[in-house]
């Protein structure tokens, strides 16, 4: 029997296979309509009016908000639709500043793409520039209202996925804009945790990670008095390649090492080294808490937006946060201590971190991570920011021969590398714990459930009488749900990994923009592939072991605490008086 469940799009039959809305069907029919407010990870919104189609019997409708029904006859490119699409695009282009040659988003901007696809060569409306204010007060993100087309993606992801609602629409009519509570600058927003997911879903250049530090990095490189060390986070190596046309998720660490040297960095290191160090400290801390039964569940603390979230919205869980610093904030002081040990002056070593993240920028600016006025991490550059530096320097990235990281801070194990994927930190911690508790069987435990493309995962490890119950959650709204359940006594875990971005660091705001789960999966696979080529247990990192012998003394000891641990502050009080 012939399947009756189809719609006809421009004369072509397209089967309905559980699509949520007509737009998905239209796209399935290979009409790749560019839209701004429709995002597969968010609720349909119906505001940009660029997905308009004509449905027989219904007239003109926004396809993103219409449920597909068998028998629908759909026109995508009728005269009327073409006219309306063009007018709506011209309206967007007439409002604000869309000078592509002066925009960092150029080449990766949906508005630019649509204007090009529709070959807009003139705009019949008057140019309106209402708000030219640029808000660069947050170290993490820059907002440029003049480029905002008010699609609301940022508002929805902050609310629907992160459960925060730091931004919303304010004012009416043409004066509408996206604002924080009380229209404060983002840097003064109490609610923003700097996760940057808003920037990840922004179709234009209105919301982008703050890239002001790139210039400072170039200056430091060219300053003969300074030595500049750079280290790259795991997720960076599987994110950068796609900017240069390489396959999504391909690990390009060798080319990155080469490019960093060509840029003039003196020392090229791998953040995965510090990730191993983090696990040694954090898992040791966990095992102590676990034995004593205090401050459980322990939460991971390597995600800075998550730390901000706990401080601002759930300070009652501060004692549960691991005091171990994030890999980035372990790497900084270790490199500087090492530099000093070898006779250098702390301020003469500039540490640059390349991160997939916007919140890392604000993390580096935290007061706890300064010695006098010298920060542990001097500058944070995103994956996209590094690509910009490579392009500016004229480096032919694709054709570079692989090089390797400098020693000793370039050594790592697979445990450190998989930090970039949701579930990776927990897996690394459990590898460490198992090796300590049950070395004979440590390799036989499989962690497949922690590698799923899910926002909530669980894994229980049994060693003799001991049962370690762990959970992995990504996305702050999901984390909030977990916190509420813990408070209500509805679940019991011993150790929980939390990442602000769904899917973990591979999906960070500093990475090349993407939609949906497939890119997250490909990038994570790149990391798990590298893991197979490296040592399994974090305690096998010879560089880390040597470091304890040379500088840090013993694990969890006094020096280690000073350099590798931190403390947190209750920031719930909005009056700032506390």
């Amino acid at each position: 029997m012939e399947n009756e469940n189809f719609v006809t799009i421009e004369g072509k039959r397209v089967a309905i296979e559980g699509e949520k809305n007509l737009l998905e069907l239209v796209r399935k029919a290979n009409f790749n309509i560019v839209t701004f407010c429709y995002h597969p990870e968010l609720a349909a919104y119906g505001a940009c009016r660029l997905c308009l189609v004509e449905v027989e019997g219904m007239g003109i409708v926004a396809s993103c908000t219409v449920a597909p029904k068998a028998g629908m006859k759909v026109r995508v490119n009728s005269d009327e639709i073409r006219k309306l699409r063009r007018i709506n695009l011209e309206l967007l282009l007439s409002s604000g500043n869309h000078n592509c040659t002066l925009c960092s988003k150029s080449g990766n901007c949906k508005l630019q793409k649509l204007a090009k696809d529709l070959d807009v060569t003139e705009i019949r409306f008057k140019s309106k520039k209402l708000d030219s204010h640029k808000d660069a007060t947050s170290p993490a993100l820059v907002r440029d209202h003049s480029k905002c087309i008010l699609c609301g993606n940022c508002v929805r992801i902050c609310n629907e996925v992160q459960g925060i609602g730091a931004i919303d629409f304010a004012f009416r009519g043409f004066r509408s804009k996206i604002a924080t509570a009380f229209n404060k600058e983002l840097g003064q927003s109490h609610e923003c945790v700097s996760c940057g997911q808003c920037a990840r879903v922004c179709p234009t250049g209105a919301l982008m990670p703050n890239s002001s530090e790139i210039e400072e990095v170039f200056k430091a490189i060219n300053n003969p008095k300074k030595k500049v060390a750079v280290h790259i986070a795991p997720a960076v190596r599987v994110g950068l390649g796609e900017i240069f046309g390489l396959p999504q998720g391909q690990n390009v660490d060798g080319k990155i090492a080469a490019a960093l040297r060509m840029l003039g960095f003196d020392y090229v290191y791998d953040t995965a080294f510090a990730a191993d160090l983090t696990i040694v400290e954090e898992a040791t801390e966990f095992l102590e808490r676990f034995k004593k039964g205090t401050n459980l569940p322990q939460f991971t603390s390597c995600c800075p937006a998550w730390v901000n979230y706990v401080e601002k919205f759930a300070p009652e869980f501060i004692p549960n946060l691991s005091t171990a610093r994030s890999p980035m904030q372990m790497m900084g002081p270790v490199l500087k201590a090492d530099f000093e040990e070898r006779g250098g002056k702390r301020e003469d070593l500039v540490v640059v971190a390349v991160m997939p993240c916007s919140a890392k920028k604000s993390e580096a600016k935290r007061g706890e991570f300064y010695v006098d006025s010298n920060p542990d991490t001097d500058y944070v550059v995103t994956t996209v920011g590094l690509a910009r530096m490579i392009k500016e320097a004229g480096i032919d990235f694709v054709n570079l021969e692989n090089e390797w990281f400098d020693m000793p801070f370039g050594t790592k194990t697979g445990a450190g590398v998989i930090f970039g994927a949701s579930g990776g930190v927990m897996e690394a911690a459990l590898r460490y714990a198992l090796a300590e508790l049950d070395p004979a069987n440590a390799r036989s435990v499989k962690f497949t459930s922690l590698r799923d493309s899910k926002v909530f995962k669980e894994k229980t490890i049994t060693v003799g009488d001991l049962k370690i119950r762990t959970a992995v959650v990504s996305g702050l709204k999901n984390a909030r749900k977990l916190l509420d359940e813990i408070k209500a006594g509805k679940n019991q875990y011993d150790f929980i990994e939390v990442m602000s971005c769904q899917g973990g660091c591979v999906a960070g705001a500093g990475q090349p923009q993407f939609d949906g789960w497939a890119p997250r999966k490909k990038r994570a696979e790149g990391l798990y592939q590298e893991d197979t080529e490296l040592a399994y247990r974090p305690q096998d990192n010879s560089g880390v072991l040597a470091l304890y012998g040379r500088i840090l003394d013993k694990i969890g000891g006094k020096v280690a605490h000073q350099l590798l641990h931190t403390h947190y502050k209750d920031k719930k009080d909005r009056t700032g008086q506390k």
Partner: protein, 627 residues
């Protein structure tokens, strides 16, 4: 608590009412209060105290003399403050008139001629309401008790048959029967959309409960519309009773009245009515012993026009920004806090008890086949009797304007029916009707076919000295300011349309501007998300349709035929009137005027900035403004 017996309340009230010797009602609607009616109310109390005349401000069994009360809006706002003493109806009453009214009318029953309404049409004085065409030409069902009863005394409402239909609905009818009766009545929503009320209720009734809501949309935002305000101020209990019946019909136990905070008096009266109804057990638990509960909350809106759109209103009640959502799902399926919700406007709800009282069949006899019942219109603009009128659906525009509202006026206020140029109906979302529509029946379908809409019922009458381009600009400026900013065509499109209209009225436009304006207006109409955006271009499109020559005069000849658009005005000095005194020359801030003393001066149009300084300075009326 059990509901008090309303039949007894009515009986007690009526027997106490028989004891009073005289009744003075002072209009306490917002219009009359603005005109000073509260001072009149106070003057009556002082005067009666001074003369030792007994009076009460509330009917009780101890009341044996005069009863003095405020009422809600009586609709004849242009003639306020209004006072009635028994049947005698006085207009434009001032506090200083009160001693005379007490002396002559209250005590002796004499009529004071000068305070009566003077009907300019027949040059006669009207003694009672029935003698005034403004009232006699109306059919006041909804507004029947507005202005007659004390809106702050629930007992009077009950004594007039109030809450009897709510009681019937809760104790004698099933939810299905209530819906059936409403469907049979053919009542269509008075908020603008005209959706059949009974059908809406029935759709919500069949949705799974237990939690459902009734919302009264009292966010009347159209400039020039004040029907809902008047009903809430004049007869708030009728709104509550309508909500109770709606709740019974759909199975809701909670209701919200969403009223804009610009209506403080309406809010106060609605709150008073709710409190009194709760005290009598009419609202609350186990209503009329039915085992059913219903409570009503008042929610004050912050005065956003878009919150009149139901999904935006619901968002606002939920504490979110008032932005429309996509439908479906409709509120009947997923409304307030995700629960099935009926949302009706004030006028619709206030009609409900009347329909149950008279029966669907009787109700259908009023109005037209497709639009049964009456409709209130707020008539403003160049019109003799600014105010609130209620007429059967299908009454023609001419009847409303000329017969009820006394006819179009010139700028100086004199009646000149021939001066009628256009009427904007349905506020900023509506369209304009012209002379050719004067005999158009005002009902949902006829207006729609004429490219206009009933809307909430605002009716702005304009005379021939009105510039239609400027009118379109005015309404568009409003909708642009009130757009929620969500969808592109409404947010950006209306702003661009406004820019083009400004270019037109300020002489910068070309024919291309006009073409772009029309294209854009149609695009905004077709591609906007909600009704606000879809209807925002209506004033522009309908004036373009009916008054295109006026647009062309502005664009091609750089001339405003009505002489309204200042930027297009041409200031000239009439040589025969000019004495050459030089006053205008000195007043001109840009040295555009030249001339020798004693000889006629002239204005250089290239330098003139049209400030009007010369015209106001000239003692001889020599400066004229040409179109």
């Amino acid at each position: 608590m059990a509901t008090k017996n309303i039949e007894n309340i009515a009986k007690e009230y009526n027997s106490a009412y028989k004891n009073i010797t005289g009744r003075v009602v002072i209009c306490g609607g917002t219009g009359c209060i603005a005109g000073g009616s509260l001072n009149v109310y106070e003057a009556f109390q002082k005067e009666m105290e001074k003369r030792n005349i007994g009076f009460c401000l509330q009917i009780t069994k101890d009341c044996h003399e005069n009863y003095l009360s405020l009422s809600g809006c009586r609709g004849f706002c242009a003639q306020g403050p209004l006072v009635s003493v028994g049947d005698i109806f006085y207009t434009k009453v001032k506090p200083e008139d009160v001693p005379e009214i007490v002396e002559k009318t209250l005590l002796k029953g004499e009529v004071i001629d000068r305070l009566l309404y003077h009907n300019p049409a027949c040059d006669k004085k009207a003694k009672t309401v029935a003698d005034i065409p403004f009232y006699s030409q109306q059919e006041r069902i909804l507004l029947h008790d507005c202005g007659r009863i004390n809106p702050e005394d629930i007992n009077e409402y009950i004594a007039h048959g109030g809450y009897a239909q709510a009681k019937r609905a809760y104790t004698e009818m099933t939810d299905e029967e209530v819906c059936k009766e409403m469907i049979a009545s053919g009542l269509r929503g008075r908020g603008g959309g005209g959706f059949p009320t009974g059908k809406k209720w029935d759709l919500t009734r069949v949705e799974p409960g237990p939690k459902k809501y009734v919302i009264c949309n009292a966010d009347e935002g159209d400039p020039g519309a004040f029907m809902d305000r008047s009903v809430m101020e004049g007869n708030p209990n009728a709104v509550l009773e309508g909500m109770m019946i709606a709740a019974r019909a759909i199975g809701a136990d909670e209701g919200y009245i969403y009223v804009r905070m610009e209506y403080p008096l309406a809010i106060q009266r609605v709150r008073t009515a709710i409190k009194q109804a709760e005290e009598l057990g009419i609202l609350g638990e186990n209503i009329f012993g039915s085992g059913k509960n219903f409570k009503i909350n008042v929610m004050e809106g912050a005065g956003a026009f878009v919150c009149g759109e139901e999904t935006a209103l619901i968002a606002s009640v939920e504490g979110k920004r008032g932005m429309p959502k996509i439908k479906p799902p409709f509120p009947s399926q997923c409304g307030l806090f995700g629960k099935p919700t009926v949302i009706n406007n004030v006028e619709t709800l206030a009609t409900v008890a009347k329909i149950l009282e008279m029966g669907a069949e009787e109700f259908r006899k009023i109005g037209t086949l497709g639009s049964p019942g009456t409709k209130t219109f707020a008539v403003t603009g160049h019109i003799a009797n600014t105010g609130l009128v209620e007429v059967p659906m299908g009454t023609t525009l001419r009847q409303v304007i000329d017969d009820v509202a006394g006819g179009t006026t010139n700028d100086d206020g004199t009646v000149n029916k021939a001066a009628f140029k256009a009427a904007q109906i349905g506020g900023p979302s509506g369209g304009c009707l012209t002379k050719e529509h004067l005999d158009l029946p005002l009902d949902f379908d006829s207006l729609k076919s004429a490219g206009a809409m009933v809307g909430s019922g605002g009716l702005v009458v304009m005379n021939d000295k009105t510039c239609m381009v400027n009118v379109a600009r005015f309404f568009l400026e409003f909708t642009q300011r009130e757009s929620c900013g969500k969808c592109v065509p409404c947010r950006e499109g209306t702003e661009q349309m406004l820019t083009m209209l400004n270019d037109i009225v300020e002489g910068r436009a070309t024919l291309k501007t006009l073409e772009n304006l029309e294209d854009l207006a149609k695009a905004v109409q077709k591609s906007s998300l909600c009704a606000l955006g879809k209807t925002a271009p209506n004033p522009v499109l309908s004036t373009l349709k009916h008054f295109r020559e006026e647009y062309l005069a502005h664009v091609v000849d750089k001339r405003c035929p009505a002489g309204v658009c200042k930027a297009l005005a041409r200031f000239e000095i009439a040589a025969d009137k000019c004495k050459g005194c030089g006053m205008c020359k000195r007043a001109c801030p840009v040295q555009a005027i030249s001339g020798e003393v004693g000889k006629p001066h002239r204005i250089d149009p290239k330098k003139c900035i049209k400030c009007g300084g010369c015209k106001s300075t000239c003692k001889f009326g020599a400066v004229t403004v040409g179109a």
